[in-house]
């Protein structure tokens, strides 16, 4: 199932697009990931990931209305496609099955 393979950052971007649903455009995605993930996101990394995901078919997009706040330029809103949903589910399944298979004792350690 190689075509469903997602990178770590790709997966987070994809999920956040889902979270924001109607409002998923560049700046909103950036702030959302930064707040939730407690990490800084460079706009370059985010945009190139978005375009890559779109090219692979996980995302779909359309332009909004011109916006004065943005110097008269429109936002581009992203949406998860059905194929994208499949990829997310696939990755979730793998993780869950891995979690289920860890024996309890392996996690029974004091961290630090």
């Amino acid at each position: 199932m190689k075509e469903y393979q997602l990178g770590e950052f790709e997966e987070i971007v994809l999920l956040t697009v889902g979270v924001l649903y109607d409002e998923a455009y560049g700046v909103a995605l950036k702030t959302e990931i930064e707040q939730r993930g407690k990490r800084s996101v460079s706009i370059g990394a985010l945009q190139s990931t978005l375009r890559r995901l779109e090219r692979k078919g996980f995302l779909d997009s359309k332009l909004g209305e011109p916006d004065i706040e943005r110097g008269g330029k429109p936002k581009r809103f992203f949406r998860i496609t059905a194929y994208g949903k499949k990829a997310l589910l696939h990755s979730k399944e793998i993780r869950l099955s891995l979690w289920d298979s860890i024996p309890k004792i392996a996690l029974d350690c004091k961290i630090g």
Binding site: G26, V27, S42, I43, R52, P74, K75, R76
Partner: protein, 897 residues
């Protein structure tokens, strides 16, 4: 402002499909930042634009981009360049080959120059280190400029001036002292080696000269007395693979010093490019232990005295100290420490020599080695530029000469809508291709001539040309600058043609272009003539210096130094020397043996004021003093012009008689040599008043770069330091064996070393020889490159005038007429070049000869040579083409239409 540029840049590279919304995002963040008063919103904007600069967001090169058109045209230019190269192979070959020779010569010469300039580069604080030079004056006359100094100078400088951080004193360069060092660790056959490159060094020396220690600590290794530090290769020689640390070495010299030292460090061998080469260093404090009497003489002699002056003294200044300002205070310093100068009418001048200038620009007495020739290096680097320029001029000439060929192409391109700018770029690309190919060929030339060049220039093989960073910088520079310089003129000329004219076939060379070409040919050959004159003069001068009568005969002479290890009893020593001399004289291979304290070739160091007993003290003149044995003058063929030589039979010779050279007798006030005979002289220094018994013809103590000395000769007897052994010409190998046998018989325990006097004497011409060979080799190359260009040029003229020649022949011209017609033009150009450059080269060569006290007059002959050589070479070069076109069948040329 920053934002504007950044957003332009973003628009420039961003894929158009993404640009609209991402730039909106950028704008939104920017406004948000401003609203929230974040710092540097513009810079943040720029940073984000840079973060977005990644391939996945960029325009693709093939799609809708402006770059692509250029790229395709560029590709096309390269194609056209290669096609035109292949189309006219002779032309391409001449161009590329000529350029390659020029470039290779330029790079090789710079290799030599860079090596000569790389001296002391391995020393970290080289800019701040200076050698303290000493100029000694007596009665207002310069006695000598010395590289060595008073022992007190270094310590006094550190004490008196806060700018002087540190000083290091070195004593006894091996070339003067006569030393054997033996390993003393109970071996059965201990190594005993005679040393030249050894020094007594203060503890500060190792760190100051950035010595890399393999074992031991640079800072402390030379602190204690009787410690010794040796180079890696010396450690190998004495101890093989054993650990040298703590091992013992015994030093013995001909002053009866006998010191047992412990090895406290091993340093990496010093590189080739340093003026001070040493492989053994003994701690300076060892010298103070020689004072067994306890009256403190060693402290004055080696520590802080201002009497003897035989210490190399180096000082390190604070960074950014102005050395001249510091030097101006030295006069007061000398006055303070040497007040007795005043009454003796003497003057000592201290000055600072930058460490890095020593190799090329220092010619003082007692240099650690024969230094390089800074002026020669300068002249050679000018030749390098000459050759390169001659090669570039070739390119310019040949490309403009070919305008006839290329004109139609240019015309057609213009008709098809080419801009002039794109034509210029096309021709520049072509020039770039040719220069690039020439560079590749130059690499091959350099690669194959490396060994030859190292022999010629004396640069060590370990200094590898390809490993030098400047080399690659220069390679890049030459290709680009060369392509531009040589390409720009042809590019403008060729691209300026009017299509209608060229396509109509009316193109003739513009008179301006022809004049330019003529000027360039004159320029090229002027440089060639200058180089020939230069070569001839340098050769003549060298020949003159080496063939000059020196005043003594140095052929077939083997020199041995007196043995370093000697018996302390004077009786035994005299007996040993006697047995050595008489033993040798009995051998049939040996003609004569004579001792002396002087060695021809080596500067006489000792000078002292001397006067006749009728003169006052003020009238005393400094004369060099040297000792010779009874038979020295006769054996060395030195002429006695008045009085007599020393004689073994007359007993009072030893204590009361001296011989002077003719110029010394004149300096003492005797008009005729005969007047001096029997006169008494006073030598205050020795409290000695001998009489003059003979006057000797002046002789060259040193190579001809130096004046003949005014010398006073005393009888050295058994105190001789050198023995000149004349051998029979027929069998020098047998003679050497004979000397060695006798040496071991008379001076047991001393290693045997010898050298030929003429080789030693001529070794002082080494840098001259290098200069001469390089000059000659590269002058020839320059002429070859110039001729290549001329050959190409003549062939083009011949082709262009093919129809004219054919018609002339049809109308009755003879072959000879045609040859005259074709040759005349070039011969006139070259002749003009010759005449123009003569005065300038005369001036330059006279300037160069000024350096030599004994020099040739530049006669008309070397000018005549240069003219004849150049005209002859020109005639031969163009003869191939002229003959070919003169003999061509007119039908072939006229048939074309």
């Amino acid at each position: 402002m920053i934002r504007k540029i950044a957003s332009k840049f973003f628009k420039f590279y961003c894929h158009p499909a993404y640009w609209l919304d991402i730039s909106g995002d950028l704008e939104e963040i920017y406004r948000y930042n401003i609203r929230n008063k974040k710092k540097y919103p513009e810079l943040r904007y720029l940073l984000q634009v840079l973060q977005l600069f990644r391939p996945s967001l960029m325009k693709s090169i093939n799609e809708n981009s402006i770059i692509s058109n250029h790229t395709i045209m560029l590709k096309n230019y390269f194609n056209v360049a290669f096609r035109s190269l292949l189309k006219n192979r002779l032309y391409s070959f001449i161009n590329i080959f000529g350029l390659a020779i020029g470039i290779a010569a330029f790079l090789l010469i710079n290799h030599y120059v860079a090596f000569e300039k790389s001296y002391e580069n391995h020393i970290q604080n080289k800019e701040d280190i200076y050698r303290v030079q000493l100029d000694v004056y007596q009665n207002g006359e310069l006695v000598y400029k010395s590289s060595e100094n008073y022992p007190g100078a270094g310590p006094a400088l550190v004490e008196e001036f806060p700018e002087v951080i540190n000083s290091a004193k070195l004593y006894n360069m091996g070339s003067k002292n006569n030393v054997v060092i033996t390993s003393e660790n109970g071996e059965e056959n201990p190594q005993a080696l005679k040393h030249r490159k050894f020094l007594y060094a203060e503890a500060t020396f190792l760190p100051m000269f950035s010595n890399q220690m393999i074992q031991g600590d640079a800072k402390t290794a030379l602190e204690k007395p009787f410690t010794i530090v040796i180079s890696e290769s010396m450690a190998k020689k004495y101890f093989g693979n054993e650990n040298p640390m703590g091992k013992l070495l015994r030093l013995e010299d001909d002053d009866f010093n006998n010191e047992l030292c412990e090895v406290t460090g091993v340093f990496k061998d010093v590189p080739e490019n340093t003026h001070l080469k040493y492989d053994v260093l003994i701690s300076f404090n060892t010298l103070f232990t020689r004072d067994t009497s306890g009256n403190g003489w060693a402290q004055t002699r080696y520590g802080n005295g201002w009497k003897r002056k035989d210490f190399y003294t180096y000082v390190q200044l604070m960074p950014n100290t102005n050395p001249e300002k510091l030097e101006s205070q030295f006069v007061a310093l000398v006055d303070k420490f040497k007040p007795q100068n005043q009454e003796r009418n003497a003057k000592d001048l201290l000055s600072l020599q930058p460490l890095q200038d020593i190799h090329l620009f220092s010619q003082l007495t007692d240099e650690a080695e024969v230094n390089g020739n800074g002026e020669g290096v300068f002249y050679i680097s000018i030749i390098a530029f000459f050759i390169l320029i001659i090669a570039w001029v070739n390119y310019i000439n040949l490309s403009t000469a070919r305008s006839f060929d290329r004109g139609r192409e240019v015309g057609l391109r213009k008709v098809m809508g080419s801009y002039r700018s794109s034509l210029i770029i096309q021709f520049l690309v072509e020039s770039f291709v040719i220069n690039g190919l020439a560079m590749l060929l130059a690499f091959a030339l350099i690669f194959f001539s490396t060994n030859l060049f190292h022999n010629l220039s004396g640069t060590p093989l370990s200094y590898i040309i390809w490993a030098q960073p400047w080399f690659w910088a220069m390679v890049g520079g030459i290709v680009f600058i060369g392509a531009l310089l040589s390409g720009i003129y042809p590019a403008f000329v060729l691209s300026s043609f009017k299509p209608i004219q060229v396509l109509h076939g009316k193109l003739r060379n513009s008179s301006g272009g022809v004049a330019m070409r003529k000027a360039l040919v004159i320029f090229q050959f002027a440089m060639s003539v200058a180089l020939i004159v230069g070569t001839a003069t340098v050769f003549d001068q060298m020949e003159y210096m080496q063939s000059q009568n020196l005043g003594f005969d140095m052929s077939q002479t083997i020199v041995v130094e007196r043995p370093p290890k000697q018996d302390t009893s004077r009786q035994v020593r005299i007996a040993n020397v006697k047995s050595f001399k008489t033993g040798l004289k009995q051998r049939p291979e040996i003609t004569s043996v004579a001792g002396s304290t002087l060695l021809p070739g080596k500067k006489l160091r000792f000078k002292t004021p001397i006067r006749t007993n009728l003169q006052s003290q003020e009238e005393a003149v400094p004369l060099s003093v040297a000792g010779m044995d009874f038979d020295f003058a006769e054996s060395m063929n030195m002429e006695i012009i008045a009085g007599r030589a020393f004689s073994e039979e007359l007993r009072d010779d030893l204590d009361s008689l001296v011989i002077v050279t003719e110029n010394a007798s004149r300096a003492l006030g005797f008009e005729n040599p005969e007047d001096a005979i029997g006169k008494r002289i006073e030598i205050e220094r020795f409290r000695w008043s001998p009489s003059i018994v003979g006057v000797m013809a002046d002789y060259h103590q040193e190579n001809l770069k130096e004046e003949k000395p005014k010398t006073l000769v005393y009888l050295s007897g058994t105190g001789s330091e050198y023995y000149m052994i004349k051998i029979n010409a027929s069998n020098s190998a047998a003679a050497i064996t004979a000397i060695e046998e006798q040496w071991h018989k008379s001076f047991a325990g001393n290693p045997f070393h010898y050298f030929f006097l003429d080789e030693y004497f001529n070794s002082y011409y080494e840098s001259e020889r290098q200069f001469k060979d390089l000059f000659a080799a590269f002058s020839i190359l320059a002429i070859i490159v110039g001729c290549l260009g001329l050959f190409g040029l003549s062939s083009f003229t011949a082709i262009q005038r093919a129809r004219e020649i054919a018609i002339r022949k049809v109308l009755g011209s003879t072959v000879l007429n045609i040859i005259q017609l074709l040759s005349k033009e070039f011969l006139i150009l070259v002749g003009t070049a010759t005449i123009i450059i003569w005065p300038l080269s005369y001036y330059l060569m006279n300037q160069w000869l000024e350096n030599y006290p004994y020099r040739i007059d530049i006669g008309w002959s070397s000018f005549a040579y240069s003219g004849i050589v150049v005209l002859f070479v020109t005639a031969v070069t163009i003869s191939y083409q002229t003959l070919k076109s003169a003999r061509a069948n007119p039908v072939d040329a006229l048939n074309h239409e």
